[in-house]
Amino acid sequence: MIRFLIKGLLRDSHRSRLPLIVVAFGVMLTILLTTWITGILGDSINLNAKLATGHLKVITRAYQENMDQLPVDLALTGTSGLIKSLRTDFPAVSWVERIEFGGLLDLPDENNETKSQGPFAGIAIDMFNIDSGEKERLNLKKILVDGKLPSSSGELLVSSSFAQKLGIKIRDKVTFIGSTMFGEMAINNYTVAGTIRYGISSLDKGSIIMDISDARNALDMEDACNEILGFTGTDYYDDAKATEVMTSFNKKHLENKDQFAPVMLRLRDQNDLGTLIDLMNGVVGLISFIFILAMSVVLWNAALIGGLRRYGEVGLRLAIGEEKGHIYRSLIAESLIIGIAGSFLGTAVGLSISYLVQQKGIDLSKLMESATMIMPGVFRTKITPASWYIGFIPGILATVLGTALAGIGIYRRQTASLFKELQS
């Protein structure tokens, strides 16, 4: 019987073409949307982790309350000991020290008078220690626009838009003006080694990167930093693993009520990234639900139209002794075949397009120029293992549901009028 049904489906394009197109199109859209959202949100989360939040972050309790202001005066002290114990207690996590700070960057003229000046957000990383992996983590080689990466103390990188705005050129001497960890004025001179472009307009507008030892000297932060970041190894954030490490660390320091006592945060606890993670996890289900609903309605209608076209066939089958349940089940079997075929087709097309966008990306950096969030300028899809089967859920469910609803009419059919109906 199944072979008989398949033959009918293959030969009757009216019976199979529209549902197949609807299913394939819906499945393709489901995959494109889920990979697109997973890609964008995943990239945003990944970018935030690398630049600002880590997968885990250790700070002081006081710093936690004022984290938006990046206060260096509320930094962790004795960090060499703290990071040593972190590496011992949690060896699977890669721990690095960072100093995030703000200040003014001043470009002097030939008379050492201010030529131009602007506020910046600075990140100090362990740039010269190969084992830290910070240069690779921030992808510095790739985002370098001009000049070179700092190779010695006293050199820094300036974001290209910021450099352009202030008229800074490579090898220019610039002055950092800020305040030390103890609230005193800090003034230090540096050489611009290169310019960088993150492709994130909020950072490109005004940021610098320097080695952490230079920042420590400038900010008087001997054996101190305001953030210790932990990375769980993989590119993508593992919430369960991060929670486990955080719970263990915080339990150990629970009794210490000092405002400078260390506290650990997960990525999801910072920058509203928890919402983003929940959205990413929930969005696949939501998209599937929407497509199941929308496709079911379309396929219900398609099946109703198909039912009208096959009114005579169903009547004949009832007359020659096929049971209503058997006819109903055979229609469901047909829809299952269409659902599976359409889902395969839609998945193939959807994954192909997703793969292209994953590899090439879509550059929307021009549109993101005024964005203040840390978001990538080039948007990419992300194919995950779920992408291979996620389309089958709306594809098959919607087809079966649509046919099941339309097929109820078979049970309302009266055999008493079949002779008359089959005469027309």
Binding site: M1, F4, G8, R11, A319, G321, E323, K420, Q423
Partner: protein, 232 residues
């Protein structure tokens, strides 16, 4: 061979609701059909021919009275049991052929056998035999759209006969055919009736069909007015 009773219609009445009143289509009909009969129910439109065929075919239930098919009183049959009797023991021929357009002649004829759980080999043998009966062996791969009206009706006959049913019910089988084709398919059915001893019951007012009948039951206003044996 017309000796054993196969269908017994007993004091059959069928009423249909019509607004607040009722329309009586059949009024206390009693008939017996024996195995191998070639009979027809004739009468003008509205006389109750199709209603009688519906009830004999277990597609409808009587209001009063009963029909006993192959020893099974229709009153006692569930919908599933009625479907099973139709599936195994009855064939239907309709005025408009009702062939499935996307399937070949072979597949159309094979369709009733798919419901009987027969093996592929058994089905193929039965279908080829049925097509040979109606003279369409060379058309097994054709689609209904490639056939003439007469050929389509012959396919419908093969479909009705392929499972070798005891009873074939034919409602106006020649209504859409010209005289030549009508005679051709009637001769085919007459031959099958004689060879396979299948009971044929027609509902018709076509004189060409009536000329082939061996028994003519005339209905007028839901009652049997004449029950004549035309040919012994």
């Amino acid at each position: 061979m017309e000796n054993s009773e196969i269908i017994s219609v007993r004091d059959l009445t069928k009423r249909f609701p019509m607004g607040l009143s009722e329309f009586t289509a059949l009024r206390g009909i009693s008939l017996e059909f024996s195995r191998g009969e070639f009979s027809g129910v004739v009468g003008p439109s509205g006389s109750g021919k199709t209603t009688l065929l519906n009830i004999i075919g277990l597609l409808d239930n009587p209001t009063d009275g009963d029909v006993i098919i192959l020893g099974n009183p229709s009153k006692n049959l569930s919908v599933k049991e009625a479907a099973m009797i139709r599936r195994k023991h009855m064939g239907f021929i309709f005025q408009t052929y009702n062939l499935l357009p996307v399937y070949t002649v072979f597949e159309n004829v094979e369709f009733p056998l798919l419901l009987l759980s027969m093996s592929t080999g058994e089905r193929k043998k039965a279908v080829l035999e049925a097509l040979a009966w109606v003279g369409l062996s060379d058309k097994e791969k054709s689609k209904p759209a490639q056939l003439s009206g007469g050929e389509c009706q012959r396919v419908a006959i093969a479909r009705a006969m392929v499972k070798r049913p005891e009873i074939v019910l034919a409602d106006e089988p020649t209504a859409n055919l010209d005289a030549d084709n009508s005679h051709h398919i009637l001769q085919t059915m007459e031959k099958l009736n004689k060879e396979l001893h299948t009971t044929f019951i027609f509902a018709t007012h076509d004189e060409k069909v009536i000329s082939y009948l061996r028994r003519k039951i005339t209905l007028v206003d839901g009652k049997v007015s004449h029950d004549d044996v035309l040919k012994p």
